[in-house]
């Protein structure tokens, strides 16, 4: 049976089309499955004005047999073999003759019962109930009402077409009765179209300038872009987000090539691209990494036969570029350092003070970071950049194009003649903007970006704001991920607890929460984010738990630890070693602190273990300090054979208290050493499933 659904709407935002189609896909597949309707073909299609589901299914549900049980046999059948009133009542309720009842074996014993074959319903009948419920259940980031009553959707629904094998599947939703009509492109073909089948639907819509398949529209756009640019031998500056958005924003794509006066090419490429993309959703055109004075736009039109669409877009873009040029000329008149003074009047966060306060803190944090990360040679530049990095918030350009914050500061600093280490740092200090964005490429950029993010996190946590569930005020998660990404990328070793102490001391008494609490919350928060990043990189959760077991000290260290664990995970010695670590842990669980007194070692095995352990301990110390956990680990593994023998031959829980404490002390010392590398007891191995997955927060 062919099923076709089209929800005709007023213009949906591109992101809403995408999420609606994903939800329709999932919900319909689930419903078909749970209703027992086999599906041969299924797809969701659509554009800004329509959401489409099309499926080929079997014509009806399979028949299903149900057993209904009544009273126990002992109650239902009287000693004389006749049926009891209970059995008769049950048969009556089931609508079957009492004689037809069977004895059914159940885990609870023998019961009276009856078998009922419920005839599978025709697919249409099942769908008539499902479809309106599915439509109503689609969720959007933001919804609206447009008629009486509480019903909400992304934008008003105009019509619902729903066909099963060409016949209307009748249902109503919010005052709309499903039918077999639709309409084409509202400008070219607003009249009603009567639809017979999916093929008919696609054909008729194509004639009325609607391409229902997003992939087809995307291909059309790309093909037309190539055609338009062929003679220029240029290409668009790639922008997948924009391409996707546009392919949902139009029903019939028509790519327009336009030009702007060359004088605007003196504007930075960042400004040109932003003015085009954010203002008018235009692609910029580049050749050999140079901006050309052209743009490409995607119109929702059949063609631009009179070039009116091109001319209109050219005029609007020219006005925007003229504005941008004006902003640039105004902005460069005032040096950044002078502008930065104005940050005293811009609030960063009510309790955390102004952006000037922030800039002063950033200078101190950036200075501290450069000393702690072998970056002392760029300390001066990092501090200078930190002091200037927020000044561009007061430029006209950033007020107009907020997404250029940071970048504009960098460009203005460059124009003013600051050294590369300074202007690059300013330019890059918001990076990475998200999970997919690159961290800063320059060392100074990394330091200033880190300072900015840590300052925000500690400050915001310090006044009692926390990220929970889907809410992430002040981008705490994004910032924490950014911190981790920068540290891993630049291989920076920094003690996190100490860094947070430093930032707390810089904040002084500005924070309302007690310093210890802020520190713990921040460290937990970072551990959660780090876990998330490591999992995304494909590390096992138990390895991550083990690596983070010793505590949130140094992020780069934690990375080296988890890498060492992952590398060793395949070695044959790994598993017995892990089991040994767990065994030690178990023995020490409730043990009092012991103390090693080498004179109290009675057996050869424990003396051997002690002396080998002492040597190993000395050997790995420098490795651990250097962060060479892989090597340290492989040496620590050498203690294992001796541990095996120790456990075989020596009774740890000896009767003599002193002997016992001495042995426990030795094991405690070994555990302490292991913990410097990882908490091995967290690793899950075959035959041991006690370790639990961590919470990726």
């Amino acid at each position: 049976m062919e099923f076709l659904l089209e929800i005709l709407t007023e213009e949906l935002p591109a992101t809403h089309v995408k999420t609606a189609l994903e939800q329709l896909d999932e919900k319909f597949r689930d419903e078909f499955k749970s209703a027992g309707i086999a599906v041969q073909a299924f797809e969701t299609l659509g554009a800004c004005r329509r959401l489409i589901v099309r499926a080929d299914t079997v014509s009806g549900q399979n028949d299903s047999a149900n057993v209904v049980t009544g009273p126990p046999k002992s109650v239902g059948v009287l000693p004389d073999g006749t049926f009891s009133p209970a059995a008769r009542g049950f048969a009556k309720a089931q609508g079957v003759p009492v004689e037809s009842l069977e004895i059914i074996q159940t885990p609870r014993g023998e019961y009276m019962g009856t078998r009922k074959v419920s005839k599978g319903k025709p697919t249409q009948e099942v769908l008539a109930a499902i479809v309106p419920a599915i439509i109503a259940s689609i969720s959007f980031p933001k919804t609206m009402r447009w008629r009486e009553g509480p019903f909400k959707f992304s934008r008003p629904i105009k019509n619902i077409l729903c066909l099963c094998d060409g016949k209307v599947l009748p249902f109503s939703l919010e005052g709309l009765d499903s039918n077999d009509t639709t309409s084409g492109h509202p400008i070219y073909s607003p009249q009603l179209l009567k639809i017979k089948s999916f093929q008919d639907y696609c054909d008729q819509l194509k004639k009325t300038k609607v391409i229902v398949d997003p992939d087809e529209r995307r291909k059309m756009i790309l093909g037309q872009i190539e055609e338009r640019l062929a003679s220029l031998k240029a290409r668009i500056y790639p922008d997948d987000d924009l391409l996707e958005r546009l392919s949902y924003n139009v029903e019939y794509p028509c790519v327009i090539l336009g030009a702007f006066p060359e004088k605007y090419l003196t504007l930075p490429i960042e400004v040109l691209a932003t003015a085009m993309r954010e203002g008018q959703k235009l692609f910029s055109v580049v050749k050999d990494k140079k901006q050309l004075p052209y743009f490409l736009g995607v119109a929702d039109a059949f063609k631009d036969s009179k070039s009116l669409i091109r001319k209109g877009n050219e005029r609007v873009l020219k006005a925007r570029l003229e504005d941008a040029r004006f902003f640039w000329q105004q902005d460069v008149k005032k040096p950044l350092a002078e502008r930065a003074a104005g940050l005293k009047n811009v609030v960063f966060q009510e309790k955390l003070g102004t952006y000037d306060d922030k800039a002063q803190r950033l200078k101190k944090i950036a200075g501290y970071l450069s000393e702690r990360t072998d970056a002392a040679k760029v300390k001066k530049e990092a501090i200078e950049a930190a002091g200037l990095c927020k000044a561009d918030l007061l430029t006209e350009m950033v007020k107009e194009f907020p997404s250029l914050q940071g970048k504009m500061g960098g460009l203005y600093a460059k124009a003013e003649g600051y050294p590369a280490a300074v202007y690059q740092a300013i330019y890059e200090h918001y990076q990475p903007a998200g999970l997919e964005d690159d961290p800063p490429s320059s060392l100074t950029g990394a330091l200033v970006s880190l300072a900015d993010k840590i300052d925000s996190i500690v400050g915001v946590v310090g006044v009692g704001v926390q990220a929970s569930g889907s809410s992430d005020p002040f981008g705490l998660r994004r910032n924490a991920q950014g911190v981790a990404k920068i540290i891993l990328n630049k291989k920076l070793s920094i003690s996190f607890p100490r860094l947070i102490d430093k930032v707390l001391s810089i904040y002084g008494d500005r924070l309302s929460k007690p310093a210890e609490e802020v520190k713990t919350t921040c460290l937990d928060f970072f551990a959660g984010r780090l876990r998330f990043i490591f999992e995304r990189q494909g590390f096992r959760y138990d390895h991550i738990n083990a690596a983070l077991g010793p505590g949130m000290g140094d992020i780069y260290d934690a990375y080296l630890r988890v890498k060492a664990l992952a590398a060793l995970g395949t070695s044959p010695n790994f598993e017995p070693f892990i089991l040994m670590a767990k065994r030690i842990n178990n023995i020490l669980k409730d043990a009092p602190a012991g103390k090693i007194n080498s004179e109290l070692f009675l057996e050869k095995e424990e003396r051997d273990l002690h002396s080998t352990f002492t040597i190993i301990s000395e050997n790995v110390k420098p490795m651990i300090e250097k962060g060479d956990f892989a090597r340290a680990q492989s040496i620590i593994f050498k203690v294992q054979p001796l541990l095996n023998i120790f456990f075989d031959k020596v009774l740890v829980m000896a009767d003599d208290k002193k002997v016992r404490q001495n042995r426990l002390g030795l094991l405690q010392a070994i555990r302490k050493l292991l913990l410097q590398v990882a908490d091995y007891s967290q690793v899950v191995v075959e035959g041991d499933r006690t370790a639990k997955p961590g919470n990726a927060r």
Binding site: K142, M144, I187, G312, N313
Partner: protein, 282 residues
């Protein structure tokens, strides 16, 4: 077609749709939405259709008459229909055709743009309407006004008259527009833009504006107490305008800004509550 012809055509079109053509409201407002013909009429159940020209003052947009696109006062063509007709989008598109725009030759787009006005506790969902990349209208299904959930849902359509006229006349400079056959936008408005930009950014007495703000706020509270809701609302509009002037003078910090807007909104919400509770909108 001169700007006044555009207004005449829109009047003819929307009168034809059953709209009452309201006279311009006689107070400074930042947008047509704030005028009583919109604000009070969208509350409650009583059907309402209106269209009118409303000057909108946005002091910070002043450019001393030197920018070809930005002015501190512009003209909006405001349409309210309550309840929103089922085919309102089509009705709107037809209004463009009635201006002589052959839509098949253009790219008309409804671009996601949700609107809100924190000052009057209002928000809605809809689009900015783009014609060949130029924003010519704002199209909004009101969801709330004065903090009150609206039912039935009204639609608000706001045409930017100068934008639309620049499109129709194919001109790049707002001051080159023809208001009538003999009078240009420059003749009418250039001096005004220059003088008001100077006033908004430099000359306005901020101490006086603050006093005015407080006095009007106080008066609003007192008038609400007396049940004089329309005059009370006027006082809120005045507060909003004084606030905008203070903002243009750079006299308001970010936190103060939020607080002052919240103060106006509190009065406006109170007015809307009482207006609805008294059954005046039904």
């Amino acid at each position: 077609m001169a700007l006044q012809d555009l207004i005449l055509k829109l009047h003819a079109y929307w009168a034809g749709q059953g709209c009452y053509l309201a006279p311009t409201y006689d107070l400074e407002v930042g947008a047509g939405t704030m005028t009583p013909d919109t604000f009070f009429r969208v509350l409650g159940r009583k059907p309402w259709k209106t269209a009118y020209v409303q000057p909108a003052r946005r002091p910070t947009d002043g450019r001393y008459g030197e920018n070809p696109h930005r002015v501190q006062k512009h003209f909006q063509y405001q349409v309210i229909m309550k309840p929103a007709p089922g085919d309102i989008q089509h009705i709107y598109v037809q209004s463009l055709s009635s201006l002589g725009i052959v839509l098949q030759d253009h790219d008309l787009r409804f671009d996601e743009d949700d609107w809100e006005s924190p000052t009057i506790g209002a928000w809605g969902v809809g689009w900015q309407v783009m014609l060949d990349g130029l924003e010519i209208s704002q199209f909004t299904y009101f969801q709330q006004a004065g903090g009150i959930e609206l039912s039935p849902v009204p639609v608000e359509i706001t045409y930017g008259l100068e934008r639309l006229e620049m499109f129709l006349e194919q001109k790049d400079d707002i001051y080159d527009l023809d208001w009538s056959k003999d009078v240009t936008y420059r003749d009418l408005r250039l001096t005004e833009e220059k003088e008001f930009s100077e006033y908004n950014f430099n000359a306005a007495d901020t101490a006086m504006l603050r006093t005015f703000f407080q006095a009007c706020e106080k008066e609003a509270v007192s008038l609400i107490g007396k049940g004089l809701l329309l005059p009370a609302y006027d006082m809120c509009l005045k507060c909003s305008h004084f606030f905008n002037l203070l903002d243009a003078r750079g006299a308001i910090s970010v936190t103060e800004r939020v607080k002052m807007i919240a103060r106006i909104r509190a009065q406006v919400n109170e007015i809307a509550q009482r207006f609805t509770a008294s059954g005046r909108g039904s």
